[in-house]
């Protein structure tokens, strides 16, 4: 089969690889029909995530058709069109039994601090991902769901990570009616977090980024006010000014490990890998939110320490809430929101790359060329 293969920081290519095999009785093999590149894939691409091995295939956002199932699979059959959450999870460990699917303890031998994720380094379990023609899907009776007939493929693929993660970020904010919510990052996750904040009753939603084309999308897709932080000497002061010096009730970090805006932080994390991430957006969130407020973190950070302004969080009495999104827990309610027309995820898609051109796709997304917000990947066997 053809598959994207990592060749080292900033380098990847498409190679022939063996079609994955059933390795466990509850495995399925899925033929990928549509995949996406996630902003967090860029952390792997840039060599930021420890134990990202040359030869591995990325991709944790994908949908496809079941080709083969293991002997114990009951809920799926070959030919089923399925959407697969980015979390690999067993359903039965202490954490899965309580809905923390992203924290499954039975799927990642490499680390106890993180669950299993498709195509996201050995730190997340050493699974190959879906930017390929075929992918192994463990626990086929637990993770994947059949795609409803009424759902578009592009909506479905975005429901495997970006949309539920943004929606989850707004939930972590514990938004109350009339709250002012500030969202750092106008990528797909931030845009959905902003849109979801309204669903939860926010009174005012402000999105912050440095890319004007993404802020324009925040105004149309998410009905949000926007601020380009490069236009301000200090974005935290602007946040105080615009909230009558109270601060926002809720701040959501939808940027994560490679935040720009502070040269030293950015260099230490993105270039020298001396931090698990550059916490510029997180520190701005901590400083922008009001005392007693809530900071929700859905931007991805690596396991190495980061220079977070924890003292400010303590002294302000903040509630910090975070996790990788347990995707499947969000689906029933998100499906309702799609049917009602409150969310239309495919509006975020800007680019579609054939799998054979995925190196260009990564560069365009990474370098923020051509107004790129969300690139999809179409395998040749689709």
């Amino acid at each position: 089969m053809r598959a994207m293969v990592y060749r080292g920081p900033y380098k990847l290519r498409v190679e022939n690889k063996d079609v994955p095999a059933i390795e466990h009785p509850n495995d399925a093999i899925v033929r990928v029909t549509l995949a996406a590149i996630c902003g967090s894939d860029l952390h792997l691409y840039h060599g930021l995530m420890p134990d990202t091995r040359v030869g591995s295939t990325f991709g944790h956002e994908f949908i496809g058709v079941v080709e083969q199932v293991g002997s114990s699979v009951r809920n799926l059959a070959p030919g089923d069109r399925v959407m697969v959450p980015f979390n690999i999870f067993c359903g039965s460990c202490w954490f899965c039994a309580r809905g923390l699917y992203s924290n499954c303890h039975n799927v990642n031998p490499n680390a106890t601090a993180v669950g299993g994720i498709y195509g996201y380094s050995h730190t997340c379990g050493g699974y190959d991902g879906g930017q390929a023609e075929y992918v192994r899907v463990p626990f086929a009776d637990v993770g994947p769901s059949r795609i409803p007939d009424w759902m578009d493929d592009e909506d479905a693929v975005l429901l495997t990570d970006a949309v539920p993660t943004g929606y989850f970020g707004a939930q972590l904010g514990a938004i109350a009616e009339g709250d002012t919510v500030v969202v750092f990052g106008a990528g797909p996750v931030g845009l959905v977090a902003a849109k979801s904040s309204w669903l939860m009753g926010a009174g005012r939603v402000i999105v912050i980024d440095h890319l004007e084309y993404r802020l324009a999308k925040a105004r149309t897709f998410a009905h949000a006010e926007t601020r380009n932080f490069t236009e301000y000497d200090d974005i935290v002061v602007e946040m105080k000014r615009t909230t009558d010096h109270l601060g926002a009730d809720v701040a959501i970090d939808a940027v994560g490990a490679e935040a720009d805006g502070n040269f030293l932080q950015h260099v230490a994390a993105a270039h020298y890998k001396m931090q698990g991430g550059s916490p510029v957006a997180l520190n701005w969130a901590i400083d922008s939110v009001r005392k007693g407020g809530t900071v929700a973190v859905v931007g991805a950070y690596g396991p190495i320490f980061s220079a977070v302004k924890f003292g400010d969080a303590l002294n302000k009495g903040l509630t910090l809430r975070m996790n990788q999104c347990p995707v499947k827990r969000q689906w029933p309610r998100l499906f309702e929101h799609l049917r009602m027309g409150y969310l239309k995820p495919s509006e975020l898609v800007t680019h579609r790359f054939p799998l054979e051109h995925i190196a260009e796709g990564y560069h365009v997304f990474s370098a923020k060329l051509d107004g790129c917000i969300k690139p999809l990947v179409v395998p040749s066997a689709a």
Binding site: R13, E23, T57, R98, D141, A174, H271
Partner: protein, 191 residues
């Protein structure tokens, strides 16, 4: 205002927001939010028909965190450790827990060694690494590389010219230190 007891008045009423924004308030009640409360026991175990899953066969020795009691019943089998980078990875997993910086820093070191090993190995194949095609840099021409940067304010632009120096600097410095050190050792041995 922050200096007085009451919250600043809202710019828009709930009715105005509901009219302007499709779905406003649909999840106002926390009971409608799927992740609230955080820990909800899933009676159906989300479709699992086991309390502990069957074990996936371990066909090659699989490295694992020493914080785990045993090898997890299911695991990825992509890219087993190999070469010098593999030895560093195995050491990291065998010796240090996830709580130790040494664990992660060794894995980052192994990643860099792996990249060099693979790069060198590629020259012994019919498909050596090609920095032009593998970096996707050709998209600078097909996807408006200049137009995406000229005349716009982006936080990454001011330091983009410096980035190559920042990335290459430590490598150049390390090469110089190695060279100077080797010369000094060679001189000492000649004496």
């Amino acid at each position: 205002m922050a200096y007085t007891p009451h919250k600043p008045p809202a710019a828009e009423t709930a009715e105005q927001l509901r009219e302007r924004i499709p779905g406003w308030g649909a999840d106002l009640d926390p009971a409608d939010r799927p992740s609230v409360p955080k820990l909800q026991f899933q009676e159906d175990l989300s479709g699992a028909h086991w309390e502990f899953p069957e074990r996936q066969p371990e066909k090659v020795p699989r490295e694992r965190s020493i914080e785990h009691a045993f090898l997890t019943p299911v695991f990825g089998t992509s890219c087993p450790p190999r070469g010098l980078s593999g030895a560093i990875r195995r050491l990291s997993y065998r010796r240090y827990s996830e709580a130790r910086a040494a664990h992660w820093l060794l894995l980052v070191l192994a990643d860099r060694v792996d990249a060099w090993e693979s790069h060198l190995r590629s020259f012994a194949t019919l498909r050596p690494d090609n920095p032009i095609t593998e970096t996707g840099v050709r998209s600078e021409f097909s996807h408006h590389g200049l137009r995406s940067r000229l005349g716009v304010q982006r936080a990454d632009l001011p330091h983009q010219a410096l980035d190559p120096v920042i990335v290459a600097g430590p490598w150049v410095a390390a090469a110089w230190v190695t060279y100077a050190g080797s010369r000094r050792v060679a001189r000492a041995l000649r004496r």
